[in-house]
C-alpha cells in the first residue's frame, strides 16, 4: 500500500503541474494605507509567492486599499469569487471582503477600520490577510496569504469593547467562605481573672471580720 502511495505521489504532482496551466493567479498587487491624517499613503507591492514581510499598521480612522489584476491562465479575467479575507490568528475568526472586479480582471477593495467586525477590531494579534480567487469551471482557485495588518488604537479614544455572547458550559466553582469561629483569649489570662475574682471572696470575709472585731 505504502509502495503504491509512493508511486502515486509523483503522478499526482505531475497531474497538478498539468492542471496548473489553467489556474487562477494575480499580478500587480499592491496594498496601500489610506490615512485620514497628513502622513500620506504608503504603497507596498506583494505577489503570490512573496507576501509582505512586514505587517502594515492602521489606526482607527484609516483604511486599506488592495488592488490587483486577477488572471486565469495568464489572461486577465473576472472570477466569481474574489475576496480579501482577514483572519484573526488567535481565535481563527475570519471576515471576507469581496473585491469589485472589472471585466479585464482589475480588482479593488477598500477596507476601512470601521468596516471590521468588532471581534476582529478588538484583536490584539496582527490580522492575516489572504487573497482568494476562484470561479466555476475547471480552473484551479488560489488562496494565498498576502500581508498582515496590525491595528493601532488611538490612545485618546476608548478602545472598542466586545462582550462575548452567553454560551452554556461549566461555571466557576464557588466555595462558601465561612465566618470565623468565635475565639477564646489565652487560658492564662482567663485563669488570672478567675483568681482575681475569686480572691475577692476571702477579701470580703476578712474585711467583714475586721469590721466586727473593731
Amino acid at each position: 500500500m505504502r509502495f503504491l502511495r509512493s508511486f502515486l505521489a509523483p503522478l499526482l504532482l505531475a497531474a497538478r503541474a498539468a492542471q496548473a496551466a489553467s489556474s487562477w493567479s494575480f499580478d500587480d498587487a499592491t496594498v496601500q494605507v489610506n490615512a485620514k491624517k497628513s502622513s500620506g499613503s504608503t504603497k507596498e507591492k506583494f505577489s503570490e509567492t512573496k507576501p509582505l514581510a512586514q505587517p502594515i499598521e492602521i489606526s482607527d480612522k484609516d483604511g486599506i486599499k488592495v488592488l490587483l489584476v486577477a488572471k486565469d491562465g495568464g489572461k486577465g479575467k473576472r472570477p466569481h469569487q474574489a475576496f480579501v479575507v482577514l483572519q484573526d490568528e488567535v481565535s481563527g475568526l475570519e471576515a471576507p471582503f469581496p473585491m469589485t472586479v472589472k471585466e479585464n480582471g482589475k480588482a479593488v477593495v477598500d477596507i476601512k477600520y470601521a468596516d471590521l467586525p468588532i471581534q476582529l477590531a478588538t484583536s490584539t494579534a496582527p490580522l492575516k490577510a489572504s487573497v482568494v480567487l476562484a470561479s466555476f469551471g475547471s480552473s484551479q482557485g488560489i488562496n494565498k496569504p498576502a500581508f498582515s495588518v496590525t491595528l493601532k488604537n488611538d490612545p485618546n479614544t476608548a478602545p472598542p469593547t466586545y462582550e462575548k455572547p452567553l454560551r452554556y458550559g461549566k461555571r466557576e466553582a464557588i466555595n462558601h467562605i465561612f465566618r470565623d469561629d468565635p475565639k477564646n483569649p489565652p487560658k492564662v489570662i482567663s485563669a488570672f481573672f478567675v483568681l482575681a475574682v475569686l480572691s475577692t471572696v476571702p477579701a470580703l470575709f476578712i474585711g467583714t471580720y475586721e469590721l466586727y472585731i473593731s
Binding site: 502515486l8 469569487q81 461555571r171 475569686l198
Partner: protein
C-alpha cells in the same frame, strides 16, 4: 412497615417516571410534508431507516385539507419533517405561528431546504423568530471552489465535500462524529442553502461550511457577486436549535443530501485521484435521531439528600437542616441512546455542578460519579451547609447544546442553632471569669447571710448601751 410502604411508593414513582420519559422522548408519530407525496420515492432509504427505527410516518402535502398539527388543542404528531416545497406560502395549516406553537408544545421539527427552490415565506419568518437567517430573496446556493465533487459538479461546484464535524467545543459531547464509519468518508452537501445563526445560546451549528465557501443567489446573472450573504464558517449548513422546553428544530440546508442518490454515493474531491464513499446515511441518521429525541436525552431518575453526620438521623430528603450541617446530595441520571437508557457520563472537560443557592449560589460544587449501574449513573457530593439561615435550593442546572435541559430544584429550610446546640458555658475558657464572678457573688451572699444569722446578740448590758 412504613419503610416497606415508602420503598413501594418509590418504586412505583420510578416506574411512572420511566414510562413518561419513554413516551416523551420516543413519541413516534412523524408527519412528513412533501410537495407531492410521490416525491417520497426519492428518499426511500432515509424514510425507510426512520420507519425501521419505529417511527409511524404519515405523509401529507401542504395543500392537503386534512393537514393539521393540532387536534383539540393537543399535538397530533410528535415530530414533523418538512421537505422543500415550491409554493410561496404553505397555506393556513402551516403558518409561522402554528409552527412556533408546535415547538412550544414540545414538538420536534426537521426542516430540509434546498438551493434550487425558494424557501416558503412562512418558514422564513418562522426561522427568523428562532434567529436563524436565510439569504435575501429566500434563495441561495452554497458553492466552494476548493472542496467540490469533481464527478458530479465539475462545472457548478455546488456539491460540497466535508469532513465529519468534530465537537463544537472540547467540552461538548460529539453526537455527529459518525462512529463505526471508516475515516476516509466524507459528507456530501449537494445543492444546499446556507444559514447564518444569531447570537443566542440555544442555537448551535452541526455542520459548518469550509472557510473558502460562500453563498450566492443563483438567479443573479451577474458574473461576480456583489452583496455577500455569508462566507466560510459563518455559514451554517446544518444548524440546530434546542428550545428552553427541550423541543428540537434542525435545519438541513440540503434536502438532496438525504436523498437516495447521495446515500453511499461515490465522490471525488477536487485535486484527489481516488473516489470515496459518502457518509450521508450515517450523518442523516445522527441528525434525524438527535432531532427526534433518540439521542442526547437525559433523564433524572431520582434525587436524594441527607445528613452526613455520625450519630445523627440520616433520613432521606428532610425539609429542614441546620447551618453548618454536613450534607450529602446525590442525583441519578440516565441518557437515552437510540433504543435504551444508558448511564450518563459527563463529557470530558465538562462538569455536572450542584448549586446550593438562596437568590445567588453559596456553593457551586462538582458532582462526582459514585455508582454506575446498567442504565444510570449516580453523581454525588458532600459538603457543609453555609453559616446563613434561610430558604435554600439544591439546584442542578445542566444546560448543554445537544443535551436536553436538566433543571432540578429542591427547596429546604436552613435554621439557626437551637439553644441547646451550643457548647456549654464551662467549655468556653473565656467565660471562666464570669462563672467565677457568679460563684463569688453566691458565696459572698451566702456567707453574709450565715454571718447575719449567726450573729449572737452581745451581752445585754452592752447592747443596751449601744441602743
Amino acid at each position: 412497615m412504613a419503610n416497606l410502604r415508602s420503598l413501594l411508593s418509590f418504586l412505583l414513582l420510578a416506574l411512572v417516571g420511566a414510562v413518561q420519559a419513554i413516551s416523551a422522548n420516543g413519541g413516534n408519530r412523524l408527519l412528513v410534508i412533501l410537495e407531492d407525496i410521490a416525491d417520497k420515492d426519492g428518499y426511500t432509504k432515509f424514510l425507510g431507516d426512520l420507519e425501521g427505527r419505529g417511527f409511524d410516518i404519515v405523509y401529507e402535502t401542504p395543500k392537503s385539507e386534512s393537514l393539521s398539527l393540532f387536534h383539540l388543542g393537543e399535538r397530533s404528531y410528535d415530530h414533523v419533517l418538512l421537505f422543500p416545497t415550491k409554493a410561496k406560502g404553505l397555506g393556513p395549516n402551516l403558518t409561522p405561528s402554528v409552527i412556533l406553537q408546535f415547538i412550544n408544545a414540545d414538538g420536534n421539527i426537521l426542516l430540509a431546504l434546498s438551493g434550487s427552490t425558494p424557501v416558503p415565506s412562512s418558514l422564513v419568518s418562522a426561522l427568523l423568530e428562532l434567529d436563524i437567517h436565510l439569504p435575501a430573496d429566500r434563495q441561495g446556493l452554497v458553492v466552494d471552489h476548493f472542496n467540490y465533487d469533481t464527478t458530479s459538479a465539475s462545472e457548478k461546484h455546488d456539491v460540497l465535500l466535508l469532513p465529519t464535524p468534530g465537537p463544537l467545543r472540547p467540552d461538548y459531547k460529539d453526537f455527529f462524529a459518525l462512529s463505526g464509519s471508516d475515516e476516509s468518508g466524507v459528507i456530501a452537501f449537494p445543492n444546499g442553502l446556507g444559514q447564518t445563526l444569531g447570537q443566542g445560546a440555544l442555537l448551535s451549528p452541526i455542520l459548518r461550511a469550509p472557510s473558502t465557501s460562500y453563498s450566492y443567489n443563483p438567479k443573479d446573472e451577474s458574473e461576480a457577486i456583489e452583496d455577500l450573504f455569508a462566507t466560510g464558517s459563518q455559514l451554517s449548513l446544518v444548524s440546530a436549535l434546542q428550545a428552553r422546553n427541550s423541543a428540537r428544530v434542525t435545519v438541513v440546508g440540503s434536502a438532496d443530501m438525504l436523498s437516495d442518490k447521495w446515500f453511499d454515493a461515490s465522490v471525488k474531491k477536487v485535486g484527489e485521484k481516488s473516489s470515496v464513499k459518502t457518509l450521508n446515511r450515517e450523518f442523516a441518521k445522527a441528525v434525524a435521531g438527535w432531532t427526534f429525541g433518540e439521542i442526547g436525552v437525559l433523564r433524572v431518575n431520582w434525587i436524594e439528600h441527607h445528613l452526613n453526620e455520625a450519630g445523627q438521623s440520616n433520613a432521606s430528603n428532610p425539609k429542614i437542616y441546620r447551618i453548618k450541617n454536613d450534607v450529602t446530595y446525590s442525583i441519578s441520571l440516565s441518557e437515552y441512546s437510540w433504543d435504551k437508557y444508558i448511564p450518563f457520563t459527563v463529557p470530558e472537560n465538562d462538569e455536572l455542578q450542584l448549586e446550593f443557592s438562596m437568590l445567588s449560589p453559596f456553593h457551586r460544587l462538582k458532582l462526582n460519579p459514585i455508582i454506575s449501574s446498567e442504565d444510570s449513573t449516580t453523581y454525588s457530593v458532600s459538603f457543609k451547609l453555609p453559616d446563613q439561615h434561610g430558604i435554600f435550593n439544591f439546584l442542578v442546572n445542566y444546560k448543554r447544546p445537544f443535551f436536553n435541559n436538566v433543571f432540578e430544584k429542591n427547596t429546604v429550610s436552613v435554621r439557626h442553632f437551637a439553644h441547646d446546640e451550643w457548647p456549654r458555658s464551662f467549655v468556653i475558657s473565656g467565660a471562666w471569669p464570669w462563672i467565677a464572678g457568679i460563684a463569688a457573688t453566691v458565696t459572698g451572699w451566702l456567707g453574709f447571710c450565715a454571718l447575719w444569722l449567726y450573729s449572737a446578740p452581745p451581752a445585754t448590758g452592752e447592747s443596751k448601751k449601744k441602743q
